[in-house]
Symmetry: C2
Subunit: 353 residues, 2 copies
DNA sequence: CGCCAAGTTGAGGCGCTTCAAGGTCAGTGG
DNA sequence: CCACTGACCTTGAAGCGCCTCAACTTGGCG
């Protein structure tokens, strides 16, 4: 009975709300009713339903407001959210979806439409949970075999999962550090900015990588900005937990030490390249290391913007273009659209300075 | 009786050896005799005397050979070493001193000369021991209050102290890591080399700083070369000990973590500067951070070579010269010999890019 | 003094950035 | 459907910051 799927219906019209709930109860769901936005938000926070259905035009707090408030709370930000509305206008629909709603039902809807939409959302959520679990499993590499560690389970339960859209900022330079972010899907870039607005990428983090580690462990505030490279889901591991784990388990600490030490060595290598290698050589090395990192061994296709390439190497974007053009002429790479395919790694490696 | 000062006399001439020892015994020292170089080395290693007197011209192994072999052993490398010889030629004297001998007595010597020389060496050694102890005390910052930790005492007893001359290499890029080096006095620079021989300084370590930390903790081989900037004494902390301490004490691990994390952030800052700041600005920032690091707050005199400045910023030495000239013309710094005096920190900070 | 290493100064030129203009592609609206 | 817009990439031309090479000066040291 407790683990029946819970659905919260927020709707000011009594008839619609009650009839909707009736359908859902008959279908085997456990329903909660809220007759305005304010109550809806409260119930969402206390009940943590599995799906939320919400009208747009309501007194007190409208649907957009509800979505906005729930997005801000970590515990509710990941919940499947479906708008219900009479307005068929596309602008509203757009606005709703852009704010992070998952679906949109226009009243009047029939029973099937409703149940299908809910079923679809639940499936998606389960799928995402699988991915998150997968990511959490990967965390055990860092926390070395502490499977089922209570802290991790707590994390998993608390669902400190956050989705961010492309270009959205995760944290700004100067912000205080709340924890490290595990990238569940998508990718994140971190960069520093000069006064005149040019940016140097300090890292790109793909699935199952952590960002913000050095800042957290240094005890300082962030000295870089993190931004989603594409639509991305993140899982936040709070600072307290990391510190507790490090204090408790020396081997966890040892993992972090190794991670950081290697990081230092890498940065030093980069420093030397920046100082003394020509732009051509830096570009070649970057392509190779990107291939190493995220490409399949034989066919290596890189999908990365020119400005990111520029930011990683400290080169002007125009120069990146020119050099890639050069490389293409030499038969080292080829391009499909904006993707780069590395054809001849050996020659790339041997590019003179 | 056991803690009488021990003196080893290595000398092939029986008369001289015995008479010398007699004088020393009368003066209250405990003496050991070796009638050739080979025996001398063995006795030095087993007895670990407080001072060694050694003839130069001997059968089997001459005095230079003895000094050379003892210098290679960590346990004996720091022992006060006095040459005894009939040869008054200066070339021999030079050669002996260059190899690291501490003094030189020409036969025949009288009682006073001998006792004074020994007394002087013992005093110097005690002085150095004080400095080393001071340095070891500083290590407790890293090992957070573990005063008198048995490992540290072991270290102190084993006297893994090594003196290196200016320009001498401490370890090469690619060497496997034996431990970290605590700089007791003098200074050490670490750098990476490009194929064409240009070097980028990755660090300068003064008294009471550690070098080689990141390499040790990463578990890899050195990726940089360390060289003495001037005549320097080092204390080596073996890898095993560090690992043991990290494994045993979480707070020690936490110290290393913080050290490394800050290191990463610093390198990232440097990367941004290299990528986007003009040479003038990089130079200005470097001067300021050097002042911060090792200068007194008000009067700040920096004593550093042009080529080191060049290596730290990735600039050509000629350009360093020109820029310092510029700064001088602008009244930002002044120069006495090769020393640099910072006159106007505020203006230096505000140098445009 | 005479040597060598380190620092300075000058002239020339290359490698890269910058500015500017045009091209391409996906998304959007009429 | 096509034109429009904006983000991104490409290409060209111009300029200059910094490196390189080479000659000279300075300073430390036997």
């Amino acid at each position: 009975m407790e683990n029946k799927t819970k659905i919260l219906v927020i709707e000011d019209n009594n008839d619609i709300r009650e009839s909707t709930c009736e359908i859902l109860e008959l279908a085997g769901y456990n329903t909660f009713q809220a007759k305005n936005g304010k109550i809806g938000v409260e119930m969402a926070l206390t009940e943590l339903p599995d799906v939320i259905l919400c009208d747009i035009s309501m007194p007190e707090l409208d649907g957009f407001g509800v979505l906005n408030m729930l997005s801000k709370q970590p515990s509710t930000s990941g919940l499947p959210f479906i708008f219900l509305t009479a307005k068929t206008e596309r602008t509203d629909m757009r606005r709703g979806m852009e704010m992070g709603a998952d679906d949109y039902l226009t009243k009047p809807f029939n029973e099937n439409e409703l149940l299908n939409a809910i079923d679809c959302r639940l499936k998606k959520r389960d799928q995402q949970r699988l991915i998150v679990n997968d990511a959490l499993n990967h965390m055990e590499t860092l926390f070395k075999g502490r499977k089922g560690l209570e802290e991790l389970e707590k994390l998993s339960k608390e669902r400190k999962v956050r989705s961010v859209k492309r270009k959205q900022v995760i944290y700004y330079e100067g912000d205080s550090v709340a924890g490290i972010y595990l990238v569940v899907s998508g990718s994140v870039k971190t960069f520093k900015m000069t006064e005149d607005g040019r940016e140097l990428l300090t890292g790109i983090y793909g699935a199952n990588e952590y960002c913000g580690v050095a800042a957290l462990l240094s005890g300082e505030n962030y000295r870089e900005t993190a931004e989603a490279n594409e639509d991305t889901t993140l899982c936040m591991v709070p600072k307290d937990m990391i510190e507790e784990l490090i204090g408790k388990y020396p081997d966890v600490a040892a993992n972090f030490i190794k991670l950081l030490a290697n990081n230092v060595l890498d940065k030093e290598e980069q420093l030397m390249q920046l100082a003394y290698h020509s732009v051509r050589k830096r570009m070649a090395d970057l392509l190779l290391s990107l291939k190493e990192k995220c490409g399949s061994p034989d066919l290596s296709i890189l999908n990365i913007s020119r400005s990111n390439l520029a930011g990683m190497t400290g080169i002007a974007t125009e120069t990146v273009s020119r050099i890639l053009g050069d490389f293409k002429d030499c038969g080292l790479i080829s391009r499909i659209g904006n993707q780069i395919i590395i054809l001849n790694s050996d020659k790339l490696e041997k590019i003179k300075n």
